[in-house]
């Protein structure tokens, strides 16, 4: 069964690995150059590109490895040839799932190791600076493109493709469903699951001239909110002003609304005077509430999220085996 599975799978497998090899070569050439630098603006394209690639890979594995593995057999009727050899359906599916999961793990691990290594100088700088404008590795788009979670994504996407193929029995429809469902899960997890798997750190800090980072107003000149400097390397969930009793205040209280003149009234004030004016908030008893996942939780969160995806994959596999009996 292994021979047949590999024979059917080898073209797709080898083309993905060839593409990955090309990417690894590019990263290996450009990577050493990044060590020790303090500005990475010239590699924005590669930085964004590798990140995108980390998400495209699992999607591609789901659609082009997972779906055809079963859907193509059901579509062309060849399942009735192979199921009538001395091979049970369960063994047939187990071999296919096993081969695919192993290949997906290797592919995702390979790319993730290469990208994580390549981007390590960038990530280190982004995590070290409090005022960094760069995305640190705790930021959702980067988090999913580093470490071990890409392996979880790849395995999940592959099994999802197989399951969609078993249910829909049509390659094209199953590919579409796989891509949509994978994207939905990928987007839902950072919003609905990841912030809460570990209780986030709550911190209330005074608002001072020194830590004021951003002042946000609307078009009519009403001051909406301020943010303060955030802990380095953390994933900040909330950064909001609260009053003495701890309730969020938005827009800002009337006492500081005069800090910025309404639009069209005279010259725009200089930054320092606005900062000084707004930092009265501290004296008025307002404080800034910070909720965040500290950077030190990168690996615990990585392990938990990978575990979550592997658990989902196991549940989908169980579903596949259950559904297999009903196929004809």
């Amino acid at each position: 069964m292994t021979w047949l599975t590999w024979r059917q799978f080898r073209v797709q497998a080898l083309s993905v690995f060839a593409a990955l090899a090309a990417v690894v070569v590019v990263l290996a050439i450009t990577g050493p150059d990044l060590v020790g630098r303090t500005s990475f603006t010239d590699v924005d394209f590669l930085f964004g590109g590798t990140m995108l690639l980390m998400y495209l890979l699992p999607a591609a594995l789901g659609a082009f490895w997972g779906v055809p593995m079963v859907a193509r057999e059901l579509e062309t009727g060849t399942h009735s040839l192979v199921w009538n050899q001395t091979v049970t359906r369960r063994r047939w599916l187990a071999t296919k799932l096993g081969t695919g999961v192993l290949a997906a793990t290797v592919a995702a691990a390979l790319l993730s190791v290469a990208v994580t290594w390549w981007a390590s100088p960038i990530d280190a700088l982004a995590s070290a600076e409090r005022q960094s404008s760069m995305l640190n590795r705790m930021a959702p788009p980067v988090f999913g493109a580093r470490g071990i979670v890409p392996v979880g994504y790849a395995v999940f996407a592959f099994v999802l493709g197989v399951a969609a193929g078993i249910v829909l029995r049509r390659t094209m429809a199953a590919m579409a469903v796989t891509l949509v469902a994978f994207a939905a899960v990928l987007l839902a997890v950072p919003f609905l699951v990841r912030p809460y798997v570990l209780p986030p750190t709550d911190e209330t800090v005074p608002i001072t001239e020194q830590n004021l980072k951003q002042i946000i107003g609307d078009e009519s000149g009403v001051l909406e909110a301020v943010t303060v400097e955030e802990p380095a390397g953390a994933w900040v969930l909330t950064n909001e002003t609260v009053d003495a009793s701890g309730d969020p205040v938005r827009p800002l209280p009337a006492e500081v609304q005069h800090c910025i003149p309404a639009p069209g009234e005279g010259e725009p004030p200089d930054r320092q005077s606005v900062v000084t004016c707004v930092s009265q908030l501290g004296d008025l008893g307002y404080q800034q509430q910070l909720t965040y996942q500290p950077g030190s939780r990168f690996w615990p969160l990585q392990w938990m999220e990978t575990g979550l995806y592997l658990l989902l994959s196991a549940a989908l596999s169980w579903f596949c085996f259950r559904h297999l009996r009903r196929l004809s």
């Binding site: 069964m1 040839l81 009538n84 050899q85």
Partner: protein, 293 residues
């Protein structure tokens, strides 16, 4: 010994019963023809026997086991589906390799010999074979698997008349050589006449008649005589079909004893006459007839 036994077997697709109340016993060592009009449930019965489908009602036992229940059972039963599926991207040689990898009892010599004899190029991709060649390849895999029972769903439908004859001859040879039992379906009786020594007629998802061809031909007679009422026939003569003209009555009967009435001219039937008579009279909802020795 029985290779296939069904009791109250039924299969329902959504709302429609494709097969219902099917009771059947197929003895070992025969080539059984499964005939019936399109949609009679022939494919459903074969798929149930191969374990591709699970019954909605009743039981089916093939070679002493539940179809598709495990590797041991799968090794005993070969099945070639109606559309004779093969992998388009694999070559003929790779199909034989597939068979060898997946079957413990694989007969490689037989497979290679058949491929040679059929003139199939081992290096050719199966997707480029003609319909007939594809069928031959699928059948080769089925034969070389060396099952105890080979189920063939319309095996010769895609073959030209010459290939049909050769294939059926091959099948006879395999039966003689390996003591293989075969059940093959067709809606053409002429295909079956040459090879089958056992017959099952399936009409409207019910088994209408089953028995050894020789016994069926011996017990079914065409009686021709002056027009008369069929109620006057003796109790051991069962009417299968009857037609009347102004003066004459022709009746096809299953007779348990010799026909002694001198008013009848008694004639023998061909297998085709017999099958057509059963197939064209689906209205008579009588229980399945079993011919006993």
């Amino acid at each position: 010994m029985t290779v296939l036994r069904a009791q109250g077997l039924g299969k329902k697709y959504k709302r429609r019963w494709a097969l219902s109340g099917c009771a059947l016993d197929i003895p070992a060592g025969h080539v059984s023809g499964l005939v019936g009009p399109n949609g009679a449930g022939k494919s459903t019965l074969l798929n149930l026997a191969a374990g591709m489908l699970t019954p909605t009602a009743g039981t089916i036992e093939v070679c002493g086991g539940v179809p598709g229940s495990g590797p041991g059972q799968l090794a005993k039963v070969g099945f070639v589906a109606q559309n004779t599926p093969v992998y388009p991207g694999l070559t003929v040689a790779e199909h034989l390799r597939l068979g060898a990898h997946l079957n413990p009892r694989w007969d490689d010599a037989l497979a290679r010999d058949r491929v040679d004899r059929l003139g199939l190029d081992p290096a050719q991709h199966a997707g480029k074979l003609s319909g007939g060649q594809r069928a031959q390849l699928a059948l080769t895999i089925g034969l070389a698997k060396r099952p105890e029972l080979l189920l063939l769903d319309e095996p010769v439908a895609a073959l030209d008349p010459l290939a049909r004859r050769e294939f059926l001859a091959d099948l006879m040879e395999a039966v003689a050589e390996h003591g293989l039992s075969v059940v093959l379906s067709s809606h053409l009786v002429s295909d079956l006449e040459r090879v089958c020594d056992h017959l099952i007629v399936l009409v409207d998802s019910q088994v209408r008649v089953v028995g050894e061809v020789e016994d069926l031909l011996d017990s079914h007679l065409r009686l021709t005589g002056p027009r008369r009422d069929l109620d006057t026939l003796p109790a051991d003569q069962h009417v299968v079909s009857a037609s009347h003209t102004d003066r004459q009555t022709t009746v096809l009967v299953r007779a348990e004893a010799p026909v002694l009435d001198p008013t009848w001219t008694v004639g023998r039937l061909t297998l085709e006459d017999l099958v057509l008579a059963y197939m064209s009279n689906p209205t008579a909802a009588r229980p399945a007839l079993e011919v006993l020795r």
